[in-house]
Amino acid sequence: MTPLFLSHFTVTTCLGRGLAANSAALREKRGGLAPCHFETVDLTTCVGEVAGVDAERLPSSLIAFDCRNNRLAQVGLAQDDFTAAVAEAAAKYRPERIGVFIGTSTSGILQAELAYRRRDTANGRLPDDFLYATTQNPFSVSDFVRRTMQLAGPASSVSSACSSSAKVFGSAARMIETGLIDAAVVGGVDSLCLTTLYGFSSLQLTSSRPCRPFDQDRSGISIGEAAAFFLIERPPVKLAADAVLLLGVGESSDAYHMSSPHPDGLGARIAMEHALAEAGISPGQIDYINLHGTGTRGNDLAEGRAVLSLFGETTRCSSTKGAVGHTLGAAGGVEAAISAMALQHGFMPAGLNTQDVDPALPLAYLLSTNGPAPSRVLSNSFGFGGTNCSLIFGRADSLIAQP
């Protein structure tokens, strides 16, 4: 593919609002997972909750969109001058030439969950203040972002579970390549809700303590919430040395099971191979892999096997879900932002909480934040339904150095 320029990006997780807070926490090995006190949830698990989402207020013109997911989206958009960067792009390209593609798994489902508690006892109806289209529907968050940014181009939500906000990069890149748009706002927003907390608990996939991806004693996931946004466009003629480019997108399906990955990570491997082929590079040219690494026994085993089969034992890798949790539909976006920060700030984030890396998976799994500054990074996102997406990002100066 033709490389695309990440001209601006931002991320908000339980580690904090914006790039600086997240980068500092990752470099200092500070995690954000804590025992779950969300809403009325009575599960023994940890979550990565973003502070202050409840206090966020939407403007009156967009009040119909009011729900936790869109409040979190608004918090995310307000960081790192992202809104100003999009406004500048809109002035340059025109609002109708900028697409919006946001990944979300559950959108504003919390709003429906709460409304079901307040059904009319006589006729079972939902309360009048429940607004389906602007909260629960998966498109709500893309619509909200498009309106907030005053954009007028094509838009859709990608909702493919935990690969959602990795796949948005593919949708945007293809639409830019066909010439239908000049730039796109992509990203991921997913927020805490009862469906995912009780759902993953029903599958016995939630850990009672902060998740420990790739640890031999890993015991499941910690659910998090997050918002990540990117402005992507064709690269200008002159790029700063530390400019981050999207070099490849690889997608595949497992054709295996709805909630378990292919045991050898076959679909995962295909996605990584496609991303490498699109980027036109070999596995040895990847300096760091941000693993999907959810912390369940099966997921990490499948992904680990796929990485070992393709990269061998020497490519440095880690999962950052020990720090921010599994942010589900936002995970691809969050980890793309972490990959971009790793490239720009010259670090490889450690896998938090992990003590003893599973000896069955002899990976170069990072337990401390060190190693050389990476030039090219691969980020994995896999999800229910057997959906896989791998992204490759690189620094602009790594392209020039390429033979």
């Binding site: 429906a112 838009a155 029903s202 399906s253 679909g267 339904g385």
Partner: protein, 267 residues
């Protein structure tokens, strides 16, 4: 500056009230047969392994049925196809059951209900049923979901120079969510889009973005099908294809942004 998107339509799948497949639907939409509204009949998802087959709801049966029909009509092996699935709300029955349980003190939702709750469940079951390991994406653009799926699929065809199957489907919600999102009738359609003309090609469609108002169907009953579900918004395009008519229609997409589609029939 914007040249639009051009792709070939090689196969069509259709399943809606009174439109049990493309053969019958084509005759109705071409005006040669009279539209007779009949309740939709969803075939069992026969190609799924028995364990999965027992677990799927209406939306998966609908998506699989139209997907297979379009692939077969285009002479394509479903296992080899890149897919785009698009729907406003995926499995509404399942969503209702989960919300109901979560509103009780018990809150113990079943693992199957949970994994069926993801918007991409139809895509996941399609992949299991067909063995397709190709890329697949699952989209939502509320009432514009068909338009979003069509644009995504066309972009994939043009960029990858490979055929892509786009599947759009909606089954709506039971009460009380039905009152908040009144999707009247289950409706599904699928198009096999190809980069080059083949012996199966029905026509070439050219798409441009426009602010023009979306086209209606002259028949009031078909028009109510179009309006009754997001996937039904495909009907003006399906009517063009049924008539094999060199003509244009405007498809619903977003507020102030619609898709002008012009058909050049192949025969």
């Amino acid at each position: 500056m914007m040249s639009g998107l051009s792709v070939y339509v090689d196969g069509i799948g259709l399943l809606g009230a009174g439109l049990p497949n493309w053969t019958i639907g084509q005759a109705v939409l071409a005006g040669t047969d009279t539209y007779v509204p009949r309740p939709i009949e969803l075939p069992p998802a026969a190609t799924l392994p028995p364990a999965e087959r027992r677990r799927v709801g209406r939306v998966v049966k609908l998506a699989l049925a139209v997907g297979y029909e379009a692939a077969a009509a285009a002479g394509q092996d479903p296992a080899c196809l890149t897919t785009v699935f698009s729907s406003s709300g995926a499995d509404g029955d399942n969503c209702h059951e989960i919300c109901q349980v979560l509103a009780t003190n018990d809150r113990q939702i079943s693992p199957t209900r949970f994994h069926n709750s993801v918007h991409n469940a139809p895509a996941g079951y399609w992949s299991i049923a067909t063995g397709a390991m190709q890329p697949s994406t699952s989209l939502c653009a509320f009432d514009g979901s068909f338009g979003a799926g069509l644009l995504e699929a066309a972009c994939q065809v043009i960029v990858a120079r490979k055929p892509v199957l786009v599947v759009a489907y909606d089954t709506g919600y039971p009460p009380p969510l039905h009152d908040s999102r009144p999707i009247a009738e289950a409706f599904g359609t699928a198009l096999l889009l190809a980069p080059e003309r083949t012996t199966f090609s029905l026509g070439r469609i050219h798409m441009e973005l426009t602010a023009e108002a979306s086209s209606n169907l002259a028949d009031p009953e078909l028009e109510s099908l179009r309006n009754g579900s997001p996937a039904g918004r495909a009907l003006p395009l399906l009517a063009l294809l049924a008539r094999r008519q060199a003509h244009r229609q405007i498809l619903d997409y977003l507020e102030q942004l619609r898709i002008e589609v012009t058909l050049s029939p192949c025969h």
